[in-house]
């Protein structure tokens, strides 16, 4: 009872200062529940999900990918920061014309120079942007006049338009100029982004909330929502509970156990989107102490296959995700049109796995339940980021299943930054990894190809190398026809599945819960927030926080002087 009164009182307090009613079909505050703070808010540099969402909404790309995620040519794309573009006849360059009405949130016009600056910065190795390898096909960008940016490519590929626009939201040169790339991440500007998107950054209270407000003067028109707030909970549980209690409107990473709770509440809804994630237990094929040598255990393809066959992947996925994930097919996701959902897999077959281990000379002579060969026990460490409860659970399940096969696994939970560091330095035996892939299946070149194994900052952490796999992937990426692409990718996946550089685990189905008062727009598989500017909350379903006054013009606004309406 007492708490009810409190709530009512708070509501009264919050109502003070309500502005006039917004136009019909618009308005409302979206509060998103999330666990943890983003690392930083620079597009292309942030490695956190919240950071990606916020920078995506604050910044604009030259053109937006369509909901079907068609990455071939430019037909699937719609103009955003560029209102038009022209291809040179040899297709080795594209000239983008910047929308003349586009303004940065501080009032400065967006120019061709900003595009050149963005691409050059992201390609700069000192900055160390994760996307730099994805921009490899872009030789350079020139700004021929203030409204034009010309991309020059190294080679013609079916997805060069996608390469040019998808990875790089455009950043303002005048904000970042003069700051050496090595100091970007630590700069205060990394925590207060200025962009040209339909939402502008308002504030970030660390471990509290991050707030964006509608950019009412935006050249693409004001968004329907007045404001978006990320409520930064300290942990997963708090984040979910805040959503269930109505303190927030949306939670994007529901687990099976939460789904039951959500369905019990009539005011809450569940939405599934197509996923771009897959997880796996990755073997390190090279000796963690000396990369010149193969790993004492996992250099052996047959051993990797035996271990894979000893793991009941379907049961693990069911146990951890219930119906919210499918068993992963390989280094790919079902969302791609190029993925055959019936790829042949190594079967779960404990008897065969045991026979195979016996025939490889791994026998339990000592009778302690652990196989050994030449005095070396079949034992290794399975590293897993402790922050991901799904991955921790998969690790403990694998530990027990391999124990049945006479293999001793030590599960090592490490914090996420430490985990990433180990992967990068390749100092692990086996690690439960997860890739959030791009709309293009071409990412496998970096994550599983020889290219990613040998490059200094390559992300093929297990150092799996097979020229046959590489060749199939390369041909697939240059094939113009979908059917040919699909056939070639299938060949490539078949090769890697048989080589077993990893035990493919789960392909989660992103499941978000939202309050029924939200009027949603379609969700795009790679980013459910892509069309959030079209969301709104009907007037009769508003609660006090929807009408709270928007924080006054930020200091950047006043400094930038008045802006003309589009």
């Amino acid at each position: 009872m007492a708490s009810l009164k409190l709530v009512a009182l708070l509501a009264v307090v919050a109502c003070v200062g309500t502005e006039g009613p917004p136009p019909k079909g618009t308005g409302g505050t979206l509060v998103i529940s999330t666990a943890g703070d983003p690392d930083l808010l620079i597009p292309g540099l942030t490695s956190s999900l919240q950071g990606t969402q916020i920078t995506d909404l604050v910044h604009d790309r030259l053109a937006d990918i369509g909901d079907s995620l068609n990455i071939v040519g430019d037909r699937g794309f719609t103009p955003r920061l560029a209102d038009s573009w022209t291809w040179r006849r040899d297709s080795l360059s594209i000239a983008f014309h910047i929308d003349a009405r586009a303004r940065w949130h501080d009032g400065q016009p967006v120019r061709g120079r900003d595009v050149r600056f963005t691409i050059a910065s992201l390609k700069n190795t000192t900055l160390g942007a994760g996307v730099s390898s994805l921009l490899a096909n872009i030789d350079s960008v020139t700004a021929t006049d203030s409204a034009t940016a010309v991309f020059w490519f190294r080679s013609r590929t079916p997805q060069q338009f996608y390469d040019a626009v998808y990875h790089a939201p455009i950043m303002p040169e005048h904000i970042w100029r003069g700051i050496p790339p090595s100091s970007w991440r630590a700069s205060p500007k990394a925590r207060a982004p200025v962009g040209s998107g339909r939402f502008r950054f308002v504030r970030w209270a660390p471990r509290g909330s991050i707030e964006l407000a509608a950019d009412t003067m935006n050249y693409h028109g004001a968004p329907k929502l007045t404001r978006i707030i990320w409520s930064l909970a300290p942990d997963f549980n708090t984040a979910v509970t805040r959503f269930l209690s109505g303190e927030t409107d949306l939670f994007e990473a529901l687990r099976p156990e939460n789904v039951a709770a959500v369905t019990k509440l009539p005011q809450l809804r569940i939405a599934h989107t197509k996923g771009l994630d897959y997880s796996f237990a990755q073997f390190n094929l090279r000796d963690p102490g000396n990369r010149a040598r193969p790993h004492a255990l996992f250099g052996d393809r047959e051993l990797r296959r035996a271990l894979t066959m000893a793991v009941n992947r379907n049961a693990i996925v069911r146990s951890v995700f219930d119906s919210l994930a499918l068993p992963a097919l390989g280094p790919t996701v079902r969302t791609y049109a190029t993925t055959d959902p019936n790829l042949p897999q190594l079967p779960f077959d404990l008897t065969r796995a045991r026979q195979l281990l016996d025939s490889l000379g791994w026998r339990d002579a000592a009778g302690d339940g652990v196989r050994e060969r030449n005095g070396r026990p079949l034992q290794f460490t399975l590293a897993v980021p402790g922050s991901s409860s799904a991955r921790v659970r998969m690790a403990v399940l694998i530990q027990e299943q391999l124990r049945q096969a006479g293999v001793k696994v030590d599960v090592e939970q490490v914090d996420f930054p430490v985990f990433v560091d180990r992967m990068r330095k390749r100092t692990f035996d086996v690690a439960i990894g997860n890739w959030h892939t791009q709309p293009s299946p071409g990412g496998v070149r970096q994550s599983w190809g020889t290219l990613g194994s040998r490059a200094r900052n390559g992300s093929n952490y297990g150092s799996y190398e097979n020229p046959v796999f590489d060749a199939y992937v390369d041909s697939a990426l240059t094939a113009p026809e979908l059917s040919a692409r699909r056939a070639l990718f299938t060949k490539a996946y078949e090769v890697i599945i048989q080589d077993a550089p990893a035990i493919w685990l789960a392909e989660p189905i992103p499941t978000l819960g939202y309050h029924s008062r939200l009027q949603l727009a379609p969700m795009r598989a790679d980013a459910w927030w892509a069309h959030v500017a079209e969301w709104w909350i009907p007037a009769d379903k508003r609660i006090p926080r929807d009408n709270a006054p928007v924080a006054g013009p930020s200091s950047a606004d006043t400094a930038g002087g008045g802006r003309k309406a589009p």
Partner: protein, 291 residues
């Protein structure tokens, strides 16, 4: 803490005397009974536990089951039987508590005895060092150590728990030694030509038995709580081993749905610690009254 010193009665051992006093009281008799039962459960875990504590019989259909006749304490997200884990947890938690306490008793008695016996500057320095250790809350000290050494074995965990638990006892021991050094019967013994080591052995140790027993009982209780706390924070006992704190941690990201994973191991822990506290306090009373 003021400790009065007197000559022990020669025939009855101090331990036997205090035990007799404990048995006299109903709450401590009850506590002793419960504790014995818990220790037995821990010792006989392989015989008593209905299932293998690490076995995952059916990770899809048998996970997260609420308590039922087949699984009185429910199952965990890996389909493991929580009752069996709590039983094995008793074994591990008591084992860790006991061994860590042995380590700290040894250190505490040795340090206190040396300081008290040596006296003078050595004593002064040793006591200042002790003050510094006492100033750091034990949990914080352990956290600093365990965070720096990730992936510790249970043996190392026991060692560190023991290494951080002797400060209080060594001060009591030193006090006893100081008092005894000047006690009449020791002076008399020395005058009679007994050598120093003999004096220590014959007279000091019996006088120290009681405070040591009290410290041991309360020490085990404290270590059990500490170990559970550290395991709960994720720097204690590693998977798939079961300790009470560990089981609670396994359920801590779904506290609301898997309430049985926090409730039952916690109850066992409270029961154990309570009996140890009751025993420790009545031991202390018995020993205070016996002078």
């Amino acid at each position: 803490m003021a400790i009065s010193v007197a000559h022990p009665t020669p025939r009855q051992s101090p331990l036997g005397r205090t035990f007799a006093r404990i048995i006299e009281r109903r709450p401590s008799r009850l506590a002793l009974g419960i504790l014995t039962a818990i220790v037995l459960v821990g010792l006989l875990a392989p015989l008593i536990a209905p299932y293998d504590p690490a076995a995952q019989p059916d990770i899809v259909l048998m996970k997260d089951l609420a308590p039922s006749p087949a699984h009185p304490f429910g199952t965990d997200p890996y389909s493991r039987d929580v009752l069996s884990r709590v039983i094995y947890g008793a074994r591990l938690s008591l084992f860790i508590g006991l061994l860590a306490t042995v380590v700290s008793l040894t250190l505490g008695v040795a340090y206190g005895a040396v300081a008290g016996y040596a006296g003078g500057l050595v004593d002064a320095i040793m006591m200042r060092v002790l003050d510094a250790f006492l100033a750091i809350p034990r949990l914080l000290l352990l956290v600093a150590i365990l965070a720096a050494w990730p992936r510790l074995s249970i043996g190392a965990l026991i060692l560190f728990l023991g290494l951080t638990g002797w400060f209080g006892l060594s001060r009591i021991v030193r006090g006893q030694v100081l008092a005894l050094k000047h006690a009449e019967f020791v002076t008399a013994a020395r005058a009679l030509g007994a050598n120093r080591r003999r004096i220590l052995w014959r007279h000091l140790l019996p006088n120290l038995v009681s405070p040591i027993v009290v410290a041991a009982t309360l020490g085990v209780a404290h270590v059990i709580v500490l170990e559970a706390g550290l395991s709960y924070l994720g720097i204690g006992v590693p998977q798939p081993e079961a300790s009470w704190g560990n089981i609670i941690r396994d359920g801590s990201d779904q506290v609301a749905t898997l309430w049985w994973m926090s409730l039952f191991p916690g109850l066992m822990m409270v029961l154990t610690v309570m009996t140890l506290n009751v025993l420790g306090e009545s031991l202390r009373d018995a020993y205070d009254r016996s002078w």
